[in-house]
């Protein structure tokens, strides 16, 4: 595909993905509300929030680094998304997946978080650095099993190319890495809990401890930018997990369902648990998930 149509299609796809992220966000609020025994806000509430954030005044400025935080964050999120192929064999929805590999994706994931951390740290409010330190410790912890899982898959395929990993899973459901390499999957899906920052791993922005953590001084347009970035990142991550473990998707419908299913895994856990303290969550990730990750790598070697 030519570059410019590709850019156009990717931007369109990104736009749709962000909207889908918003809807999923609304849906999750609904579902969370249901288990709590209430109706919850309307499905389109994230859009209204977004609109509201855009029409409110900003009243504070903590310097340009602070302002750049959400931009890093959204660039990171979008970077992840544009590097994943959403539908197999559909070049218009494949983004730039042929131009980058898993390592670049993970770089973007780190990049967003680190940029955010840098920006938030500039806010001056003690909640921000505390939240940042919590977030970074937890991130380092869950990256461990996640990287092990990715390494296991990459070792299996012999490449960090995501299209190659997808290609190995096209021999029926059982060939999905979810079943082909359950240990790596377990490691990755447990790490996903940490990535999505639902309970019990939502220590970063815990409202009852350090209200909204790193984002404590962000408001309005900054927040709206962060919402966009988070939405793109969430969909990007889900698509990545879909590609890595659920064999990708052959149609848009399948992608929608699989993304939702993967996302709901963390909601399913998050609704019923309180949160861990930082050191507990670090300890958690470095224990069973890491063990699973190591087992996944070993399994790959053994299968080979």
């Amino acid at each position: 595909m030519e570059l410019f149509p590709k850019i156009g299609w990717t931007l369109l796809s990104l736009f749709v993905a962000i909207n889908y992220g918003f809807l999923i966000n609304g849906l999750i609020r609904k579902v969370m509300a249901r288990i709590q025994g209430r109706f919850g806000p309307p499905l389109w509430q994230p859009y209204i929030d977004m609109g509201k954030l855009l029409v409110q005044r900003n009243s504070i400025m903590h310097g340009y680094m602070h302002w750049l935080g959400p931009i890093f964050r959204s660039v990171g999120g979008m970077g992840v998304y544009v590097l994943v192929p959403v539908v197999i064999g559909e070049p218009r929805l494949a983004g730039f997946s042929d131009m980058g590999d898993l390592l670049l994706m993970m770089y973007f994931m780190f990049f967003g978080s680190l940029g955010m951390a840098l920006g938030a740290g500039d806010a001056g409010h003690p909640h921000s650095p505390i939240g940042v330190s919590r977030g970074l410790s937890q991130m380092t912890a869950f990256e461990m099993p996640f990287i092990l899982a990715v390494v296991a898959l990459a070792a299996h395929v012999g490449s960090f190319d995501i299209n190659a990993i997808i290609a190995t899973q096209q021999h029926g459901v059982l060939s999905w890495n979810l079943f082909a390499n359950p240990f790596a999957s377990a490691a990755a899906f447990l790490a996903l809990l940490g990535m999505n920052m639902y309970a019990p791993f939502n220590i970063v922005g815990a409202p009852t401890e350090i209200p909204v953590g790193p984002a404590t001084e962000y408001q309005n347009s900054y927040l709206s930018l962060m919402m966009i970035g988070r939405s793109a990142l969430a969909i990007g991550k889900m698509v990545m997990f879909m590609d890595l473990f659920l064999g990708g998707a052959h149609s848009i419908g399948a992608a929608v369902v699989k993304i939702l299913a993967i996302y709901f895994w963390s909601v399913f856990v998050g609704a019923v648990f309180p949160r861990f303290r930082t050191e507990q969550s670090v300890r958690f990730f470095l224990r069973w998930p890491t063990a699973f990750g190591v087992a996944g790598v070993l399994l790959t070697q053994w299968v080979r």
Binding site: R29, A33, Q36, G37, R38, F39, G40, P41, P42, Q45, I48, D49, G51, K52, L53, L54, V55, Q56, R57, N58, S59, I60, H127, P207, P211, V212, A215, T216, E217, Y218, Q219, N220, S221, L223, S224
Partner: protein
């Protein structure tokens, strides 16, 4: 427009026509300035301006983040309101943990002088436009603490109030009705206590300093 009457500071229909009071930051103009519209600079037809204002106000009214600050007794009814039984989030009213991200300040009853200092601080940290909902008798005329040495009696001498919800304490249902009232006002563009506060900052500051003896707040509002 009626003349601003210092004896009736709570009468928000008497907005003075002067510009922002002395001491306020130059970039806090009276015009509505936000990410989506530094429209004061752009010459737009009035019809369009009106339509844009309507849309903006609709967005503002439909997503009211309530600052989590239980200033008084009334805070106990905010819990049922925000949890399953009354579920205020279905009306688009979630809680917000920090003043930077909230739009509505619920003054849930009496304010001791010590709390008033914090309330003013939090109020000024909130981004404009922002609204104050005052609960119960205490905010109107002192309530049952009318002769207490440590509580203020008339809230609107110190902060602009957009909606009063009567009752001691108001039930969650009354609070929901209060929010609906506030939403209506916001949609119509009537609830502009924040604007009033900016314009009469000196007057408010003077009142605030009368009761707060240890004054360490800045004299401008940003």
């Amino acid at each position: 427009m009626k003349k601003f009457d210092p004896d009736r500071p709570w009468d928000l229909t008497t907005l003075p026509t002067t510009m922002a009071p002395q001491g306020s930051r130059p970039h806090a103009p009276v015009e509505d300035q936000c990410f989506l519209g530094a429209e004061a600079d752009i010459k737009q037809p009035p019809k369009l301006q009106e339509a844009v204002a309507t849309i903006k106000n609709w967005f503002r009214a439909s997503s009211l983040n309530v600052l989590a600050f239980g200033t008084g007794c009334g805070a106990i009814e905010l819990r049922p309101l925000s949890t399953s039984r009354f579920d205020m989030s279905r009306f688009g009213i979630p809680g917000a943990p920090t003043p930077r991200q909230s739009n509505v300040f619920i003054i849930s009853g009496y304010l001791s002088v010590k709390t008033l200092t914090r309330v003013i601080r939090c109020y000024e940290q909130m981004p404009d436009p922002k609204w104050v909902v005052a609960l119960g008798s205490c905010t109107i005329n002192g309530g049952m603490y009318w002769d207490s040495y440590n509580t203020i009696k008339v809230l609107d001498l110190y902060l602009p109030v957009d909606v009063y919800v009567s009752g001691c304490m108001p039930r969650p249902e009354a609070l929901i009705a209060g929010f609906q009232y506030l939403m209506d006002d916001v949609k119509k563009g009537k609830a502009n206590g924040w604007h009033h506060y900016l314009e009469n900052l000196e007057w408010y500051r003077e009142n605030q300093k009368q009761v707060i003896t240890d004054w360490d707040l800045p004299n401008y509002n940003w």
